[in-house]
C-alpha cells in the first residue's frame, strides 16, 4: 500500500485539519483509521473503487467509473466496435451494388453469392455440383426448387463444348437439350467453355418458350420485360455435345425476390 501527500483540507472551524493522504492498495487490505487526516483517499486498484475518509470511517465515492479497465481502453474498445460495424455495413452495401450490377449487366464478371439486401433478396444455390457428364450424355433433370421468386438466373461453368442448357416451361414440363429459348440468351449449342467460376455463362429463365408471334427477346431489357410468374417444379438439364470427352458442369441458381 502506497501513501502520497495530496492537499490541505480546511476544517469547519477554518483551520487546517492536516494533510489528507492518498492511499493505494488492494480491496483486501485493511484501510487505516488511526492518524488518518479527514479527506484522505483510498484507491482500490483491483476494483477501481475510491473511498474518502470522513474523519471516522471510509466512505465509498459515489461518482466513480464503475466499468473495469481504463477509460482509454474502454474508448479504444468502443471505437474498434464502431469501426467493425461500419466495415460490415460497407460490405453489405458493396454486395447490394454487386447484385444490381450483375443483374443489370454492368458487371459481367462475377456472380454474387449473397442472401439478403434491403428490398431485394437473393440466394445462390448450387443445383449441379461439378457433375461429370459422359460424351453425348446429360445431367438428367435437376429441380430448380422454384417457389415464389421474381427471377431465376442460371450461372453455368463447363469445361467442354459444345454444350446446351434447357429448362421446363409452363407448357413443356420435360425439357430437352434441343430447345434452349426458354432462357435468355438461348441455351442451345454453346461453343464457349467457362472454366473460371468468376466468369460463368449466365442465363435468365423466362418461364415460357417464345414461339410464333411472340418473338424472342433481343436483349436483356426485353427479356426481363417479358417475365411472367414462374411455374413450379421447373427442371433444368445440361447436355454434353462433345463427341469424346467427359464434361464437368456446375450450375448455380440465382434466385431473386423483388
Amino acid at each position: 500500500m502506497n501513501r502520497n501527500n495530496w492537499e490541505i483540507v480546511i476544517d469547519t472551524d477554518g483551520k487546517p485539519s492536516g494533510y489528507p493522504l492518498s492511499f493505494i492498495g488492494l480491496s483486501t487490505d485493511t484501510k487505516p483509521t488511526t492518524g488518518v487526516p479527514k479527506g484522505s483517499r483510498f484507491t482500490e486498484i483491483d476494483t477501481s473503487t475510491i473511498y474518502h475518509f470522513n474523519g471516522s470511517s471510509w466512505v465509498k465515492f459515489n461518482h466513480q467509473v464503475t466499468q473495469s479497465g481504463s477509460i482509454d481502453a474502454q474508448l479504444e474498445g468502443t471505437l474498434a466496435e464502431s469501426l467493425a460495424t461500419i466495415e460490415k455495413q460497407n460490405k453489405v452495401i458493396a454486395k447490394i451494388d454487386s447484385i444490381y450490377d450483375w443483374i443489370d449487366g454492368t458487371d459481367t464478371t462475377s456472380a454474387p453469392n449473397f442472401t439478403q439486401s434491403g428490398s431485394i433478396v437473393s440466394t445462390v444455390e448450387t443445383i449441379i455440383n461439378s457433375q461429370s457428364v459422359a460424351a453425348g450424355g446429360d445431367t438428367g433433370l435437376i429441380d430448380l426448387g422454384i417457389t415464389d421468386e421474381s427471377e431465376i438466373w442460371l450461372s453455368v461453368n463447363v469445361d467442354k463444348q459444345p454444350w446446351s442448357i434447357a429448362a421446363s416451361t409452363l407448357t413443356a414440363p420435360s425439357p430437352s437439350g434441343g430447345i434452349g429459348r426458354m432462357l435468355y440468351p438461348d441455351g442451345k449449342d454453346n461453343t464457349t467453355t467457362y472454366t473460371d467460376p468468376q466468369l460463368s455463362a449466365k442465363f435468365l429463365y423466362l418461364g415460357f418458350l417464345p414461339y410464333g408471334e411472340l418473338e424472342e427477346p433481343v436483349n436483356i431489357v426485353e427479356a426481363r420485360s417479358m417475365l411472367i410468374s414462374l411455374p413450379e417444379n421447373v427442371k433444368v438439364i445440361v447436355v454434353n455435345g462433345h463427341a469424346e470427352d467427359i464434361m464437368t458442369v456446375t450450375v448455380k441458381a440465382i434466385k431473386v425476390w423483388r
Binding site: N129, Q131, S132
Partner: protein, 62 residues
C-alpha cells in the same frame, strides 16, 4: 465400386489438391478439381462434386 478402387480415386483426387499451384486460378475449387480429374484420369464412374463431398475429407468451394 470396391474399396480398392475407391481409395485409388481418393488418392488421385488428393494428389491434385496437394499439387495445385495458384497460377491461372487463385484457389482450387470443386469444379477445378473434377475438371482436372477428368482430364488426368479415367472416370468411368463419373464421379463429381457430390461424390467427393460424400466420400472424402476434401472440402473445396463450389
Amino acid at each position: 465400386m470396391d474399396n480398392q478402387r475407391k481409395q485409388e480415386i481418393i488418392n488421385n483426387l488428393q494428389n491434385i489438391v496437394d499439387n495445385f499451384e495458384p497460377t491461372e486460378e487463385p484457389e482450387l475449387t470443386m469444379f477445378g478439381l473434377i475438371s482436372r480429374y477428368n482430364s488426368q484420369h479415367d472416370n468411368p464412374e463419373l464421379i463429381g462434386g457430390d461424390w467427393v463431398e460424400e466420400n472424402t475429407d476434401i472440402d473445396l468451394p463450389k
